[in-house]
Amino acid sequence: MNQLALAIPWLGKRNPAAARWVVIALALAAPLIAVLFGKTWVRILDFAMLYVMLAIGLNLVVGFAGLLDLGYIAFYAVGAYTFAFLASPHFDIHLPFWLVLPAGAGFAALAGIILGLPTLRLRGDYLAIVTLGFGEIVRIFLNNLNHPINITNGPQGINMVDPLVLFGWDISQGLQIGESFKINSLFLYYYVFLAFVVLSIILVQRLQISRIGRAWAAIRDDELAAKAIGINTRNMKLLAFSLGATFGGVSGGLFAAFQGFVSPESFSLMESIAVLTMIVFGGMGNLAGVIVGALALTALPEILRYVAVPVQQALFDRVILDPEVLRMLLLSLAMIFMMLLRPSGLIPAYSRYSRPELVVGKESSGEAAK
């Protein structure tokens, strides 16, 4: 969070304490601001939180351990389908979410190890290809496991997934305060997701400066040397895959409960690439960067979608470019400029895996070293 605060232009470096409060205030007030533009925006914000979790998880694998994973969305799928299997009328099982969510996380972690084991010796592009294949295999399985025995209900997906029920309180019903005032469930979901995101951030921050985080940094920079200084690279890589997958699994479970519906098309290759783009855009290896990247790339396309049509109508009296086309076009342009101007992302990772306090104090010397 300190990093997030410091990243605020101007204020961040002058008054870190104030900047920190700004971050907290923004995080808490975000849905209230969003609702001024319509309820859809609160929904987008909810999704943004899920993407932040995904980005944090993928960053663990790609940013920290340097293992390029193009099939990350598979773990999201595993989490979502676990939730759907264990809490929906599909098998007529309705377990409480505090059982289902950990189960989803566990299965995702297991899937992470299953992916990790055969790919231990692979690096870079080779690893990317295999993980890409893995992601597609999971999706195709989900798409086709409705025959001969119906497990996943095929392309139709699973409907009516149970919502989150906290202590007997179904949050999808919203919160009734008094006679006339009702808090919409979209807001409630936002704060639940925010809690998960905050928890993830704390966990990952601890992890980054731990022995495990250092081992990952070593493997990322030079795997052979990492072995030579006594790091068990096999276990550390498997750990990176499974821990990263856990975040995907939790996020997937929340997605299933929030959406009330899961189907294979939510877990396409494009989604994996989208999450990867978020962390590259934001700053691979930097927690704050990754969060900003996920927020920016979830919000930008939506903003474009809402802005593109009225602007074109005002300028040319008709819609020349379909917003969907324009969205991809502008996004690609944004990526290209990003790579040209800030190749290491919006908020680049500093080299240190540890002692962020040193970096804060010695900002200028850090810059000079580069």
Binding site: R214, D222, A228, I229, S351, Y353, A369
Partner: protein, 241 residues
């Protein structure tokens, strides 16, 4: 402590292959405790392969590797380090995106005795004063010689009993090489056993007590550094005379 005359490291007819290709075709060598021995030979003779296999980075296809009297053929690399067997890999292998200090501390990754680690850091600093000046610098921005020193310093922080050095002179200017070798000499003076792989035969032979000459996967000559330096065959093959 075990018998002083017993070798610290012993290879017995060790074979190492990459798939179907046998890169090292059965070599035997030994190092007594405290010795400084070099392994010289042309490109592709199998020197680095041998060193990597001793460090556990490559599997041994045949024969035996004995360390401190115990067979370690199947011991994984990270466990070998814990027994005091450290490698400075070819091309230095420093962690380019971490700072110099972080690189050094990585060497102590397997240790938990933080007081002793701090003492060892000081010891490394006195040996490598240049490194101390650059502690907060990102290691990838150092010069080649400085990187080599960091790599050696990092290995020293694991408190090795046997240090395997793979071509510490590679790509460095002669003056820098001299400095690196001074450092190696002071490490040896502290009682660390060293196996040095070098292409710079002249330097290595002058420098070490004994040496092995490797040629396409076999050891063809062995003797004291001075003897090999005087050997006409060695002079013809490696010293360009």
């Amino acid at each position: 402590m075990s018998d002083a005359t017993k070798p610290l490291l012993q290879l017995r007819d060790t074979k190492i292959s990459y798939g179907a290709i046998e890169a090292v075709k059965g070599i035997s060598l030994e190092l007594a405790k405290g010795e400084l021995v070099s392994l010289i030979g042309a490109n592709g003779a199998g020197k680095t392969t041998t060193l990597n296999a001793i460090a556990g980075l490559l599997p041994v296809a045949g024969g035996e590797v004995l360390y401190d009297g115990a067979k370690i053929n199947a011991l994984p690399a990270h466990k070998r380090l814990r027994q005091g067997l450290a490698l400075v890999p070819e091309g230095r292998g420093i962690f380019t995106r971490l700072t110099v200090e972080e690189n050094l501390r990585m060497g102590a990754y397997c240790r938990r005795d933080s007081d002793a680690i701090e003492a060892d850091m000081e010891r490394v600093f006195t040996m490598l004063p240049r490194v101390r000046e650059r502690l907060q610098q990102v290691a990838g921005t150092l010069s080649g010689g400085e990187q080599q020193m960091v790599a050696i310093g990092r290995a020293l922080l694991s408190r090795p009993r046997l240090l395997l050095l793979d071509e510490p002179s590679m790509g460095l200017a002669p003056l820098v090489v001299e400095k690196i070798f001074e450092v190696i000499r002071s490490v040896a003076a502290e009682g660390v056993t060293i196996l040095l792989v070098e292409q710079n035969a002249n330097l290595a032979l002058e420098f070490s007590q004994r040496a092995y000459v490797m040629e396409s996967g076999r050891i063809t000559l062995t003797g004291s550094g001075a003897d090999l330096l005087a050997d006409p065959k060695v002079r013809a093959a490696y010293l360009g005379e």
